[in-house]
Amino acid sequence: MIQRREFNKLAALAAASAAAQARAQQSSPAPKPATNDGITWDKAPCRFCGTGCHVRVGVKNDRVVAIEGDQLAEVNKGLLCVKGYHVGLALYGKDRLTQPLLRRNGVLEPISWEEAIETISQKIMAAPEQFAIYGSGQWTIPEGYAANKFIKGGLGSNHIDPNARLCMASAVTGFLSVYGVDEPAGCYDDLDKCDVLIMWGNNMAEMHPVLFSRVMDRRTRGEKVTIIDLGTRRTRTTEFSDHYLEFRPHSDLAIMNGIAHLLIKQNAFDPKFVERFCNFRKAPKDPLATPSAPLHGDAMSFEDYKAALEPYTPELVEKLSGVPAEQIRMLAGLFANKDIRITSTWCMGFNQHSRGTNANRLCHGIHLLSGHFGRPGDAPTSLTGQPSACGTAREVGTMCHFLPGGRLILNPEHRKETETIWNVPEGRINPKIGHHTVLMWEKFCTPADKGGDIRTLWVQVTNPGQSLPNLHKLFKAKAGQPDKFLIVSDVYRTATTELADLVLPSAMWVEKNGMFGNSERRTQQWFRMVKPPGDARDDAWQMIAVARRLHDLGHAGMKDKDGRFLFTLKNDKGEEVPVWEWPRYYDMNVDKALFEEYRAFSRYKHKDLAPYDEYVKARGLRWPVVQQQDGTWRETKFRFSEFDDPYVKKGAEIQFYHSVTKDDKALIWFAPAEKAAEEPDADFPFWLCTGRVLEHWHTGSMTRRIPQLHAAMPHSYVEMHPEDARERGLANGETIVVKTRRGELRLPVWIDGRGHPPRGSLFIPFFDERLMCNDLTLGEVDPISKEPDYKKCAATVARASSAP
């Protein structure tokens, strides 16, 4: 029946047509297309602190548009802090530096890159020995390596030091003098395993928030962790802590001696561990008496050690520190208990300390004495404040006394090995140690006729005009000295560019390839994802371009033994690329070439690094990274412990294979409790402490340009106890003057705000470039590490007579 058949056909066609219409309508463009289309994601470590979180960077149309915590990263497991979530915004402050600027008649005027490179080269040629580089723990590993090779292997000068001198130097001398090799034996995995977390002067909730949450989230999951906060003021960290032990500034030395005293008195230390794995040492009266005195100390028997600790009864310690004897006993009781795992963390509290090396030693000491070492969760671990303080400053050795891979300038063997790897003639490396940070700036600020032997200073990736202590003496004194030439490579104008004679615009973070090394020995890699603004260029390129110009001008040091340019770099095909020409710089991966060369240095101290391509695949790897029989690369979590460290002999259990005493033993040091370099007195009755806040990173040059962070913390302040304020008739929010022997500062007082200092104590964060607390700080350095104490000096306050 035709009709029926036709009807069936039409029905089928109608059904199909309806479906076609529905599909077609549905696919018509929505009123607003989903904007997440076209975002590409890539990995990078966060630009800010030393925690080393990995972020995923969302890029669209050559701009960063989103940030996400990387779930594959072991460090942060998908979480970030507020700075990390906003790190992408750091690239887009509207006042990014985009062209080189030269100061003429007091004004910074645009010049070409050729002129800029020529100017630097001429300044160096005129007096190479009076040229210095002030670098950074924010340098990428290849950047620091290029600078180090340029000045030590090229110019034959050791006047290079990083800002890490201001934050990590005491941790370095601590590790070197205890284990004979730098950097923590444990890692962040300890935070997942410890039963007790002791934070020594470490406001982790604000300064290393992701690590802090790593512990706090264990509590959320129902695990029990005892949190102990030792501090000189109450902070956000205190709010989460089970115990808060408030101590008098500088008395941390007494507290640790008190713990050691009790461990020995109660026979609660670990005699087996001490006998097998430890020797005893004391710091000589003059820590610099002989070249080996600073790190080797004087031998001491266990009996001597016992006797030295004899006076540090809990009662004496209570008197010195203000911490009740009961709480000292509580701490000692924890260390006496071998069944629990104790992790200690510290950062600037121990390090920025005029006895910082000793503070570090004593903390390692109580862990070793009690045997709380070498098991997951049992570790003394220092944290870093900069993303590559470990990777670049410490491992690459961009310090005035180091060569790459933990080698020393003073050691002729080390110089020879370095010259071999660099293929430069014997004797190229200057055997004399260069100027450390504070000395470098002092010499730069001193007129040449008065012994100021640094004339040209190149600053990269840091802001010493705000972060140096005692700024009047160490930075501002540069003003008005026309023969001193300050070069600054940065991304924004800062307190440092204020006095700069030449400003170079740099590429930052994901505008360039890079590698960082975080606090737990983890080396991380990322690729360039967006182009830098204007004519901003990579810091490493700047260094190589100057080296090439010096080469062309005939500086003999810019050639190796075979007459080749120091930075003769080859691409993957083995072809040489003239990377000093900017358009050619990304024709090859300069980072990879420099890193593969640097990698040769890493074996000596068993800090073995894997090939570059392994880091491309991973979210960072912790050294030593050792190749397996099957060709894969394995990282090391727990150093010196047989169960994890491939370099420990079978059956040794624990082996300190870089031991100072060459017997595979670590050193337990005795150091006395001492007074601070400057203590409150009748004229200056307050302790003044400085530090950071959650929202801002270091001098704030990046974070203060991020609206969300700026709005949350728009300016600096001074914290004070309410009773102290009441006595002086000061109201919350009032402008007051804080004065020390070095300077004064007007700023608002904040009472019971973010932190709560005890009576007689002040705190000022240092991020604010208009309210610079380093006009006030002391600049007294630890005699061994040369790291200044920013945490203690004497101050007084007064009501500001009129508004500023």
């Binding site: 989103a66 509207k94 074996r603 370099y647 991020i706 969300q708 705000g753 470039e769 508004a803």
Partner: protein, 291 residues
Amino acid sequence: MPEEPTKSRQFETSLIVGGIVVLVAISGYFVGLRQTTSALSQTRAVEVVSAETHRDLTGAKDVPVAVRYIDQDWSQHGTNAKWRNSLVDFQQPAAAAPSPDKPVPLEVKMAALQARAGRRAYDGAPPTVPHPITQDSSAACLACHGQGLQVKDRFASKISHPTFGGSCTQCHVTSRGAFTAAESALFAVALTENSFQGAEAPPNGPRAWPGAPPTIPHRTLMRSDCASCHGPKGLFALRTPHPERQSCTQCHVPAAANDQRLFMSAPPLDAVKKAAPIAVPAPLAIPPPNP
């Protein structure tokens, strides 16, 4: 009948006792309230200046006239003291929550997304806090944001990532600053403009066919509790029309473009970790210099 007076006396006694108990309870309640206020209040004013505007002394003699409840500024103590909100100023919500028969028009939804974007640097960024916060502790945050809260048109959204429950201020900072406007005017440097343009929230998830459950158009990291935005305490325009159904991801799955597991096709770290047993370390020697 000697029992009668005893009974009534007993009754009287129990009335008195009962009255005392009730009185004590009531006054105890208010004392308790006061104590809670002062104990919670971390900000101890150094100079307590009585706020003249809130005291009406024009009444007789030295006896102040009681302030009407409606005029009382309940938030003048504690950390939110500077956030002067009056409950009566709150509006009844203009829009009603969506229901299956009343879907939200796209422009209303876009407006809601716009409002939401105002507190975020980009879609997926932790929102800033639109009110002052306790500066030294996160303890109070979950009082409102733990389960979410709605008072008329004001919402305190429910925490969207309950497993990260501790340190709220680690990621969420206040957009109202820590200081008064006057202090900030004196000291804060004006913010340098920032030209960052963040990724925007996508409006609608694509559907497989008309009537199919839409896929999730946005990324879900740190947004695992859908109820935070789409539940009964979320913004009206973003609420689900079927709040009675609890297992969201049974029907709504992330769009493939947002698959957060994929990444540059790089193997996860496990590939490195699951390597063979430790090899014998190579002898300690400096490798030859690179060519």
